[in-house]
Symmetry: none
Subunit: 215 residues, 4 copies
DNA sequence: TATGAATGAGGTTTCATTCAT
DNA sequence: CATGAATGAAACCTCATTCAT
């Protein structure tokens, strides 16, 4: 089916923010799909509403583009984490919700997970180049700390747990389901993508965390 | 003049197995460090005791080399898992040992972890090409199944846990510490590599699994 | 809202002559430093008080800008040569002064020398495009001709010397010290820039010319 | 006229030295004609018997090629200077011959002169990168030193002249005739290329040097 | 007149792979 | 088996210049 509208003009009409965003959207997909070296500037440009030249105009070089992609991806999750409101829930329910949300978000944002994998293959050098790494950890930990504090105060969570350790455990469990899906599901012949499989795994992850934290 | 006893310019000449192994050793390092696209056939050849021609002779092309690297890496861990003997330990202690061993092995074999990451970025296509994937899951799961069965029989482990789920949880927790070290330690300013940090995390991982499994 | 007294963002706005001069100043430096092909329109524009658009507005294209730079550089020296007044000196002293002045001027105006080198690499095509080449030779030769005539009349200079030949010799000796400084000083490990080195070479150049001209 | 031999194969049959030399020959011409930035790797490759890829194979990058060109050009003149035999001539005649030879060589090797100009525009950075600059000065100065010593001993040359100063003067006078020909001949409307013009200028240069050196 | 955004053409460099000996 | 030389295709990047506002 062809659209009734005329062929799209190749040029974004002098809207730099839109041009940048358009490039970043495509680049995110390409880098997430093929890694840094595997992605092709030409391919990114071709899928863009603008030209290869503009990529270099805005981002300097391929690496600059990748840094911008990484930055924006992290900014996205940070923004969402910061706006999670769990205060109205009891600590146990809040923790269940937080873990469940993390699981859902990571499964829904495979590109983000894959970018993080790619960046880890590169030993985090691009993230390091980004100005505001320090801010990235604030929302995630702050929320978790509050829930844990409330849980201990209420006597439902045990003492002696470090919030960053806990966050690492949550991240590890959620991350794996997306990041290692290809090899794990192949080797163990196990579906890890269907709604049912996700729902099942989601409960196990939540359960694992809760059993670890509770009295 | 040619002579059958002429000085051999290269160490591994005329020992095909050693040549293959040498190429695979170097290729493992390069692919683990730079990913499939990022690795360079020229660089691999240069670090080898032999020449580029031999890479093509033995492995066909870059992808064939990568498949061979992946196969050998998985074969390595499978072999070790198969030889783990935990029968003399009680179920709880056996599980602790298995998890601890997994954690230690993965931390000691960063290259393997990174190859798995790379392969996941490629959605497992090379692993799929490998003939014997099916065999890969046998040892890991068999050992775990035995321990879990003994634990339930002894009344120390609860019912209703699927061994593959449990294996996935163990893998996720161990894998993350190596795979995501770069970004996580950067963002949370947390050491994840020192002996102390490893020992600490190791205990948390074991504890997490045990709390999940025990009555 | 627009206002006739709004803050001017750039210093030279609305002063065409100053804008032109500012562009030419920067362009002179860039072309002298990097040659015609090596200089970048973007770099020139960036260092300017105005924008790239103005370069094209005033000079048409990169080549037009270069021609203008060359023209202005030659105009500068012509103007100075024309205003040299040596009439009050005896012929020998006048020649010494002229040569010394030429040496000093060229050493003080490295950019000019380098532009001439660049133009010679381009076989003088830009200079040819300039309207008033013919005028360029007048002052230099006129002054020299007068000195030489006076010297012969006074019996201190020998006959048979062509003023253009003499001018060429003076130019060659002065030019080399600036133009070939980089390679010569490197190969012969000889300082050609310090005040002492310049003073020493200056005397040799003057001496060479005087010995050539005197009876 | 077309040759009776078949079209030349594009490949130099596995003769690396010939391939290198062929590339250097063409590159010398292109760099001499258009400068470093103005020369095009594509153009050089096109005129070569081999391909662009080979340029990078042998010289790494454009700059590496330029360094090699510069090195070879200097090696050429050094070799010739080293083999100049003037011992059989009296000092005055030897000096005349040396200066005349220098003048002739430079006029006959415009490419070399232009490369030196280009390298000076680049402030000698490529020459600096070359390993054996130190050796470059030996033959030129050694020959001159010997002549001058003999001349003083014979009482025909005056005392107090430094050989490097003298060499600089000779170089300056010879160099200018080639290097600045384009602008000088244009401005002063003077032929600097015809055999007659060259012969005339040659004598002036020799005369200038001799008058400077003689008692 | 002024400016940031945009562009096409072409520049330099790199890559996996093959060939000749 | 072994090696340095060679290759075409395609990768990344830059340039002078023009456009829309």
């Amino acid at each position: 089916m062809t659209s009734t509208t005329a062929a799209l003009p190749r040029v974004l009409e002098r809207d730099p923010e839109a041009t940048r965003a358009n490039i970043l959207d495509i680049a995110t997909e390409e880098f997430a799909e093929k890694g840094f070296s595997g992605a092709r500037v030409d391919d990114i440009a071709a899928r863009t509403n603008t030209s290869k030249r503009m990529i270099y105009y805005y981002f300097g070089d391929k690496e600059g583009l990748f840094v911008a992609v990484i930055e924006r991806a992290y900014a996205g999750i940070r923004h969402i984490e910061a706006n999670l409101s769990l205060d109205h829930l009891g600590p146990e329910q809040a923790l269940r919700t937080l873990v469940g949300f993390t699981f859902d978000y990571q499964n829904a944002n495979e590109s983000f997970i894959r970018l993080v994998m790619v960046e880890n293959i590169h030993r985090g050098v691009h993230l390091a180049r980004s100005g505001n790494i320090a801010e990235l950890n604030v929302p995630a930990i702050a929320t978790l700390r509050d829930i844990y504090r409330r849980g201990r105060a209420a006597g439902v969570f045990r003492d002696g747990i470090d919030e960053i350790d806990l966050h690492m455990t949550i991240s590890a469990l959620c991350f794996f389901n997306v990041a290692n899906r290809a090899t794990f599901s192949r080797i163990f012949q196990r579906d890890m993508e269907s709604p049912q499989a996700l729902a099942r795994r989601r409960e196990i992850v939540i359960d694992t965390i809760l059993r670890y934290v509770k009295q």
